[in-house]
Symmetry: C2
Subunit: 389 residues, 2 copies
């Protein structure tokens, strides 16, 4: 509620500087999400303030390590903490059983105990892999998420879903395991490629569409500033994305009902990623963007969403520069509807063989349904394949 | 409380037939433990009554499969459920990353979804491995524990600890994940080797010592009946063991404080198993038995436990035929105290480099302490090595 109020003030032009800290309250595990420019410089101080002087392990990849590791380590050493650094390769294929086992092996070789602290410094791949490793090492050690991409800052670092990929699909093995703290520094986005920022922004739009029309209004006006690196706009967008995600996760940590709406656009999106073969040709956020447009079209065609609302969402996605049709993906000329439909059937959300869809009722309200006829789905896939959405 | 009352009636000779069902109440996950002769014959009926007609997977090993699988499958087919059976090798080395990955792979290949049911039919190895697999497949699917050894019936099947072994030690990787149901059939103990029954009985004695003097009294009188296969005595012993474990786990699911007392005798015991190399030369329960005698000696030497109580526990252990000294283990002539001490330092319970010990105050009350001088520990190890406990 406070978040919505702030949003309203912001919208009407009142400057309110109160969007740097969120608390997520769960049954047993509650934690803070800190959001501010330059937090990485103070990471050591934040950790020592909250956890004392734990033996600390930082897992990161080469790319992040080049840009941000030195500064991070300095922030620790000034507090008398000297973390051990484990480096894993970049890219989606890093989320494997093999790397999971390697990280755990290195932790155990260093005689990790339950008072130690693990830090996931990187994007969604690092966050998911390290969160999973933390959840099963000694049956659970503390992990702090320090996400370094817009996508992971607004999505995967919050909410406790961890996982790795297996040959049958993405994130099919993992756990629900909450971090002890999430530290989001908007400054790290400065070294992130433009395309990555844009892809992350797709998830930001999602929060407005599924839960918060005021936030969507704000994005229509300020989205471009977020993409261009305006720190205040980025902080505000991230704060509200995390706030909305936190509200939903608090209501349903284990995804037994409402949490499923966070997958708006994802059932379609995952099918596109699966068909593309996770080769980096289509980024997750791009697939979600196309998937959201498909979900909007499906919502409209089933009579749940007004044409006016549908146009607003699709227009914003297009105007901001996100892809909206499957035919924008390289190589998609060879794709056909039946194959994409088969991928959708393998989604984790399938329950007792029934596919579930997240649809929109208005901008700001999404719902879950299993009542979607196959021909309606095919029609949407065909439209998107031919670039007509 | 009810359990203690029943125990008292039993002790004074009143027959009370109310020890076939326990409920364990945890924050989010509550479940029943059913204990009775012949339950396996009705497993299919129990499952369909509770879960409907889920797609079911049974994981078991060759030994169990030979004795009990046919009957189990019949109980399902008569209810219209036709489980897929996955067989893993017997023995402690089965609890590996490799087998974890294989089980998950087979589940995913069979298109497991979150409505499916996994059944762990076997001893502690199967229970730990399958529980772990269930906890991370699709971030958690339902698992029913059907323990087939006395050890797993009174210990590992209840309480939600799962895990595998890695080169650094046993159970160092795993999760806290509660089963949806535990089904304990005392009849399966009839095909269990005598030595395995005896080893499992060590954990039964443990419950009396750490938490319940009435139960210990009962064991002094009826322990032999439990070992000889008296079904009523077995059911009563298992019921009370599970009741005590349930009380402790309810108070502290994630082992942040009191749950540690369940490790009475285990810090010493694990060191013996580690030194023996997990080759089957010393069974877990045997190591725990020797470890309990050491913990009793340590408790006495530190002035926490009376000589009278110490004698009673050690006498019962010896009389029943359990080992009480390290020198009863084949090959232990070559062992020396420092090495065993090093193994103890690698226990999961070590916190901030400090070893913690579970000691007894009286029969029926144990406590955790980090205040034990190294020379006292060495003295106990030396006595046990030379067969003087």
């Amino acid at each position: 509620m406070l978040g919505r109020l702030l949003l309203f003030f912001k919208k009407v032009g009142v400057v309110v500087q109160q969007n740097s800290k969120l608390r997520i309250n769960l049954d047993r595990d509650s934690y803070d999400i800190l959001i501010e420019q330059g937090l990485l410089e103070h990471l050591g101080a934040l950790i020592s303030e909250k956890f004392g002087k734990p033996r600390t392990f930082i897992v990161t990849d080469k790319n992040i390590s080049e840009h941000w590791l030195e500064q991070t380590l300095d922030s620790f050493s000034s507090k008398g903490i000297f973390p051990k650094v484990l480096e894993v390769p970049e890219g989606e294929s890093t989320k494997s059983f093999d790397n999971l086992e390697k990280i755990i092996d290195q932790l155990l070789e260093a005689e990790v105990d339950r008072e130690c602290l693990l830090i996931a410094l990187g994007g969604g791949v690092i966050g998911d892999l390290v969160g999973f490793a933390a959840s099963v090492t000694l049956r659970g050690i503390k992990v702090v998420q320090v996400p370094t991409t817009l996508l992971s800052q607004v999505d995967s670092s919050v909410g406790g879903k961890t996982g790795i990929n297996v040959r049958q699909g993405k994130n099919l093995v993992g756990s629900f395991y909450q971090p002890s703290l999430v530290v989001i520094d908007t400054q790290v986005l400065q070294t992130l490629p433009k395309r990555q920022i844009l892809a992350g922004y797709a998830e930001v739009v999602k929060y407005g569409v599924i839960r918060d029309n005021l936030f969507f209004d704000w994005l229509e006006i300020n989205g471009q500033r977020v993409l261009e690196g305006d720190q205040q706009a980025q902080q505000f967008a991230i704060y509200n994305s995390c706030r909305i995600k936190a509200e939903i996760v608090e209501a349903d940590e284990k995804e037994q009902n409402v949490r499923a709406i966070l997958n708006f656009g994802h059932t379609f999106g995952h099918a596109l990623e699966a068909e593309a073969g996770y080769d980096g040709n289509v980024l997750h956020g791009e697939a979600v963007s196309i998937g959201m447009v498909m979900a909007i079209e499906l919502s409209k065609s089933l009579g749940h969403l007004s044409g006016q609302d549908a146009v607003r969402v699709v227009e914003h996605i297009k105007k901001i520069g996100l892809p909206s049709n499957i035919n924008s993906i390289n190589g998609s000329e060879a794709w056909y509807p039946e194959k994409l439909f088969q991928h959708m059937k393998h989604d984790k959300k399938v329950s007792n063989g029934r596919m579930r869809f997240i649809l929109a009722k208005t901008i700001g309200e999404a719902f879950v349904t299993a009542e979607v006829r196959k021909d309606k789905i095919f029609k949407v896939i065909e439209k998107s394949l031919s670039g007509n959405l």
